[in-house]
């Protein structure tokens, strides 16, 4: 058996969009808590247009809290600043937190039911059991 060493990780961008509302009895299911065992910081290409387009869609509070809970908030402001489109320095910080801080192994926790979704090799397992639907 050959051990394949492929590394893939979950970005905080995905975490910011992910909910557990598919579960029975869960109405909002957002934001999911993070229990991170392995975190990796990588480098990806910076695209200012993409970042400034994605910012209005983000739940800023959830992003800051998620980054803070895994100790990677850096000097990201707790409140979203105005006129961020032209502030490249700020966009780079957001890019770093959104796309470069990645979780390899850990758990996502539903805020309402406490159900844990394991993350292994950067892939969160969102499969539900029959009694949870």
């Amino acid at each position: 058996m050959v051990f394949r060493c492929a590394v893939h990780n979950m970005k905080l961008l995905t975490h910011n969009m992910l909910t557990s509302k598919c579960m029975k009895g869960v109405t909002v299911g957002y934001p999911l808590g993070i229990v991170a065992k392995d975190i990796k910081v990588s480098e990806t290409e910076f695209n200012s247009e993409f970042v400034s387009r994605i910012i209005p869609k983000l739940d800023w509070n959830a992003l800051w809290k998620a980054a803070d809970s895994i100790g990677h908030s850096g000097d990201l402001p707790q409140q979203l600043m105005e006129d961020y489109e032209n502030n490249e320095e700020f966009l780079k910080k957001v890019h770093h937190v959104l796309l470069e801080v990645e979780i390899i192994n850990g758990e996502l926790v539903c805020p309402e039911s406490g159900r844990k979704f394991p993350i292994s090799q950067g892939i969160p397992n969102m499969l539900l059991n029959e009694d949870e639907l």
């Binding site: 394949r4 492929a6 590394v7 893939h8 979950m10 970005k11 961008l13 995905t14 910011n16 969009m17 992910l18 909910t19 557990s20 509302k21 598919c22 299911g29 957002y30 990806t44 695209n47 247009e49 993409f50 387009r53 994605i54 869609k57 739940d59 090799q121 950067g122 892939i123 969160p124 397992n125 969102m126 499969l127 539900l128 029959e130 639907l133």
Partner: protein, 274 residues
């Protein structure tokens, strides 16, 4: 060969052997990539704008790579761990999620600028477990997909309907969930190249895109039609004659096969000098 979705549920059918085909079999890869490219084309995204897209049933991430090439960021969902392992090996850029489409799309409202799916939807029509109800699963899938898209987004889902009832069932559930749109059938005259794309829209009403290999609207006068009829009354053209060749080429064109254009040399006999 029986349809794959009749053999086993997707999480079991796409085992390591089947998943391996998606990295080794170049024909399979070509078809997947072609269909993904066509699906992205049908998405009609704004030009040169990097978007956030959802890949439903992303499998080994072949369709995701097409999205990457066009500068988009994507998140993929699949139920088969083996297929996702292949995606890991291929080092795709998008984030992956292990989840069942029939259990819903677990994203916040208004997240994605578009969604594509290549050959995944037909799996939802099966009841692989006692608790599965295909209609309920389809409805849950479509309604949660509708919520997760922005109001200018489209979802393009390529699939292989087993029969017209199945296509109708899927479309009906999509409409019930609030989508509008319909089926675009590429190369309807060919059994092999024929491809079904369910194009679903969330916002304002836009005309459905034109399918490939389908005749455009008749712009010629009505009398040619009669002339054609008269021609047909005379029977099929003589084998190897110019008319016979032209007819054959026309048929190939309708099937979406590569065909040289007609010219004055088409079907012309060689001079005796050869």
């Amino acid at each position: 060969m029986s349809r794959p979705e009749h053999r086993a549920p997707p999480e079991l059918f796409y085992n390591e052997e089947e998943a391996g085909k998606y990295t080794s079999n170049s024909r399979m890869i070509d078809i997947q990539v072609q269909m993904s490219e066509r699906a992205v084309e049908l998405l009609a995204l704004p030009q040169d704008e990097p978007c956030l897209l959802l890949d439903l049933g992303c499998g080994s991430g072949l369709s995701g790579s097409v999205l990457e090439d066009q500068g988009h960021t994507w998140i993929g969902m699949d139920i088969s761990q083996a297929m996702l392992n292949v995606a890991l090996e291929r080092e795709v850029e998008g984030d992956l999620l292990l989840s069942d489409l029939g259990q819903g799309v677990p994203f916040r409202a208004g997240t994605f600028d578009g969604a594509i799916s290549v050959s995944a939807l037909q799996w939802l029509c099966n009841a692989d477990k006692k608790s599965h109800n295909p209609i309920k699963r389809l409805y849950k899938f479509f309604s949660m997909l509708f919520a997760s898209l922005t109001r200018t987004a489209r979802a393009v889902l390529q699939f292989y309907p087993e029969n017209s009832e199945q296509a109708e069932l899927i479309t009906a559930q999509a409409m019930k969930a609030g989508f509008f749109g319909g089926m675009v059938v590429d190369y309807p005259n060919s059994t092999r190249a024929k491809k079904f794309f369910l194009v679903l829209m969330t916002g304002t009403c836009i005309q459905l895109p034109q399918a490939l290999g389908e005749e455009s609207e008749r712009t010629s006068v009505i009398y040619t039609h009669r002339r054609e009829q008269l021609k047909k009354m005379r029977g099929k053209p003589l084998k190897k004659s110019r008319d016979w060749i032209l007819e054959k080429k026309e048929r190939r064109r309708k099937q979406g096969k590569e065909t040289k254009p007609d010219s004055k040399y088409t079907g012309r006999k060689r001079s005796g000098r050869f």
